[in-house]
């Protein structure tokens, strides 16, 4: 490690903040869509999922970066998979032990973090060619970028689909149902997750014109 560079130099800080907006793995790179559709019905599992993915991307990036000079290129994919799988199993076990209900709600999707393209993509594109600390930051950043979108989508889906936020009946408390309002059943269905995501992408691109492909 270059001892002179401060831990959070502007360059490193960009690794952390870039994936939140300009290089968002979900809305710009369009990775990790499947789980974004599956777990965003409620806010709580989405938050847990977001944290799990941040942990897995950050630590697998760190581990792979530490090993990057010893991994033979021809078997690097399988090595990466082993590392990711180990991380995912740890996260899964922790969830089962300390947040059993959420873990049941997330069911297979925690296990399926292994197949989340963002993680493999970051290992291939970043961790294999960078030092551990930047790789770790990159992992946190990308996990957070993914989690941020997940939480935004889940916020709207839970609020409009079930009328609650984190299980708290917001719309009932402000008395919206008395005016004849009915929960939107379509928000609970997977297509609406895709459409909500599409709207986020639309908004982002109309504000950031250089993201639009020619």
């Amino acid at each position: 490690m270059s001892g002179k560079e401060p831990l959070l130099s502007p360059k490193n800080l960009r690794l952390l903040t870039d994936p939140l907006a300009r290089n968002n793995p979900v809305t710009v790179l369009v990775l990790g869509i499947c789980s974004a559709l599956a777990v965003t019905v409620k806010l709580e599992p989405s938050i847990v999922m977001a944290i799990s993915v941040i942990i897995v991307t950050a630590f697998s990036n760190l581990v792979i970066s530490l090993m990057r000079n010893y991994i033979p290129p021809r078997i690097r994919i399988i090595v990466q998979l082993v590392v990711i799988a180990a991380m995912v199993i740890i996260v899964d076990q922790v969830l089962k032990a300390y947040a059993y209900n959420v873990s049941k709600q997330l069911s297979v999707f925690v296990g399926l973090i292994i197949t989340n393209c963002i993680i493999m993509g970051r290992l291939e594109a970043f961790a294999l060619g960078n030092k551990p600390w930047p790789a770790f930051l990159d992992g946190v950043g990308n996990g957070a970028g993914y989690g941020f979108i997940l939480i935004v989508v889940a916020f709207f889906r839970e609020l409009l689909g079930s009328g609650t936020l984190l299980g708290y009946p917001v719309l009932e408390k402000i008395g919206l149902y008395k005016t004849g309002y009915v929960n939107n059943g379509m928000m609970i269905l997977p297509p609406m997750a895709l459409i909500t995501l599409g709207i986020i992408i639309w908004v982002q691109r109309s504000r950031n014109k250089d993201l639009i492909e020619s």
Binding site: G180, Y181, N184
Partner: protein, 390 residues
Amino acid sequence: MKGLRNYLDKIKPNFEKGGKLEKFHSLFDAVETLLYVPDKVTTSGSHIRDAIDMKRTMIIVVMAMVPALLFGIWNAGNFHFQSLGILQEKTFWQVFGYGLLKVLPIIIVSYVTGLTIEIIFAQIRHHDVPEGFFVTGMLIPLVMPVDVPLWMVSVSTVFAVIIGVEVFGGAGMNILNPALTARAFLFFAYPSEMSGDKVWVAGLKGGEGIVDGFSGETIMGYAAGGKLEQMPYSVSDMFFGFIPGSIGETSTLAILIGAIILIYTGVGSWKIIASVFAGGAIMGLLLNLFAVNEYMALPFWQHLIIGGFAFGAVFMATDPVSAAQTEKGKWIYGFLIGFLAILIRVLNPAYPEGVMLAILLMNVFAPLIDHYVVEANIKKRLKRLKTLKA
């Protein structure tokens, strides 16, 4: 009238380029061309040049819907008073008036919501207000149950115009039929307002003073529930439309009058209409052949006059934007709509009516059909060229 024209001419420069109200040009243009025949003609694209412009075309479609609309308005009153058992005491105008009070708000809400969004997008994107919503705004009320809450009409119109049309680049670029998008949204978002036996007759949900034994169940409901023999409606009821259902869909006769207007003026494709009916009839025949229950044994021609089949075939499938564009493609597109509609209707118990889903599905496939029709044509001509050369 002269005064209005003069007034428009007087304020027109304000909306031209450089005028102080330039921002609102699209709004001015919409009002002016609605009132008067516009003085500009289409200059780009491969359009056939004709005296008729988009607005007149759209108005013909709206006119074709008028019979179905008028019947729907009367039928709304008819079933409301029938459910209360006081139909005999009411005059025709009382029945029609009641229906008008129920239907008119839906039409107004649909137009106001849709046009507001269209105008906002026209302002943002600096183009004229497109004409497409003339038709969509009228189609949406016609496919709604009469008792639908107005805010739901508004929400589904917003969804249809933004997600169904504007994200693809505006009217003319949409993949799906916007009116059906609105209906599909309502169907999946608020199923309790769009299905069951209570929503099709005005006032039935409140349930006050309803005559014993009256049921607002549609024919589709009877059929899906396996109680066809209890159905109180005759075949002529189905054809003339004395049955509960969405506002505009019940009377096959009124829809056929609309179809004649569309075909005579050349606005709607007769190939699509004919092939939807053909597809439905063939699927119905197939089901008749392998009938294992009463619904499958329902005579195939009756399928064509119940539910939204005729309405979908005449007004929804023929939408020139979302339908197949090639002539051969239109046959395939229409045939598959009819075929799938009856298939979904009879064999999938979750969806008592399949026309909406069949049309939306085929909307998605229409570009693919066109692609293969064009490819086949190219291949055919290449072959001809080769034999000529040889």
